[in-house]
Amino acid sequence: MARGLAKINEIDGKYGSNKSALIQILLEIQRENNWLPKDTLMWVSQKLGVPLTETYHVVTFYKAFSLMPKGRHSITVCLGTACHVRGAPRLLDRVIETLKIKPGESSTDMRFSLDTVNCLGCCALGPVMVVDSVYYGKPSTKQIEQIFATCE
């Protein structure tokens, strides 16, 4: 927690106590910590003088924020229009069947988190699945199983 607090102070120092920096600060903390604990939210609200209600509205409004710890490996399936037309729903089905979790959830062993996104902008590869920032285009069921097996 001490290390976390130091990091938060660093991030906060970068932006000053400007209320308008709320989203940018939270984004950095999210990137560093992978989720936003309640204490952190209360601390940031206090620091910036933003009502707690507003902070909570912000973190539940924008999809980049997670109020729960996320799994070690992030799996994202693109549901953009081009990917949809090329069969993204079927890809998502297969991923859900393999991981046994739904989008927005993390596996109980905290190995995986599954999310969907509306267009990553690599439509030529579609349908696209991203595993920990590595992009896979048109993965077959077998490939999907193999890829997940390598994630500890």
Partner: protein
């Protein structure tokens, strides 16, 4: 403040510059339905019930009367056909979400809504990619009067919005609410559905940590 003259439903109405159409209409007793409007709060524009038709030249458009400021010579129709058509649908949509409430019932009677045909039941969508759309009927119309009153007038921010789209809801923040709400309770009477007291009780009960 200079005076302007506008025409509402073929009647000449005098109003002060800077007034909204809604204020001008109410000043002469013309009733425009509202849900999220309150004199003490900044106009919110969420319920859309107060929309009226304004005529300009050959064209007309629909505007939010709680926000749109009066202009000299402005022609306003508060009960024209497109306006009523929209209001009916808006009321139906509201009751589809909150079937048990009696708010605005008199408008339903005025516009002849005898059944809510927009949807059969407000229930579950079974679709993997949209797994999050599992919503139950509520007592909240999301008018925001409670949230805004607590923020703008009481300045306590004990209650707020969370979520987006149909997941949007109004939530008491227990650590702040238990300090201020028992002594205030101003929002209880503002709520068009009267559901706030039980909402508060539930929030208090959950706050065990």
């Amino acid at each position: 403040m200079s005076e302007v003259t506008l025409i509402i439903n073929d009647e000449e109405v005098k109003a002060e510059e800077g007034m909204t159409i809604l204020e001008a209409a109410r000043s002469v007793g013309i009733d425009i339905p509202t849900l999220c409007y309150h004199e003490k709060l900044a106009p919110y524009g969420a319920c859309r019930l107060c929309m009226v038709e304004i005529v300009r030249g050959r064209g007309s458009s629909l505007v939010t009367s709680c926000v749109y400021t009066v202009e000299d010579g402005l022609v306003v129709k508060t009960e024209s056909e497109p306006v009523i058509k929209g209001r009916k649908m808006l009321l139906e949509l509201m009751w589809a979400r909150a079937p048990g409430i009696t708010a605005l019932r008199h408008y339903g009677i005025r516009y002849g809504i005898t059944e809510v045909k927009a949807i059969r039941e407000y229930g579950v969508i079974v679709d993997r990619a949209t797994a999050k759309f599992e919503i139950e009927p509520t007592f909240c119309t999301l008018c925001g009067l409670c949230v805004r009153y607590c923020a703008e007038v009481e300045k306590k921010n004990a209650i707020g919005f969370v979520g987006r789209g149909t997941e949007r809801e109004v939530v008491f923040f227990p650590q702040i609410a238990r300090k201020w709400c028992p002594g205030c309770q101003e929002c209880y009477s503002l709520c068009p559905t009267g559901a706030l007291p039980s909402h508060y009780a539930l929030a208090e009960a959950h706050h065990s940590t």
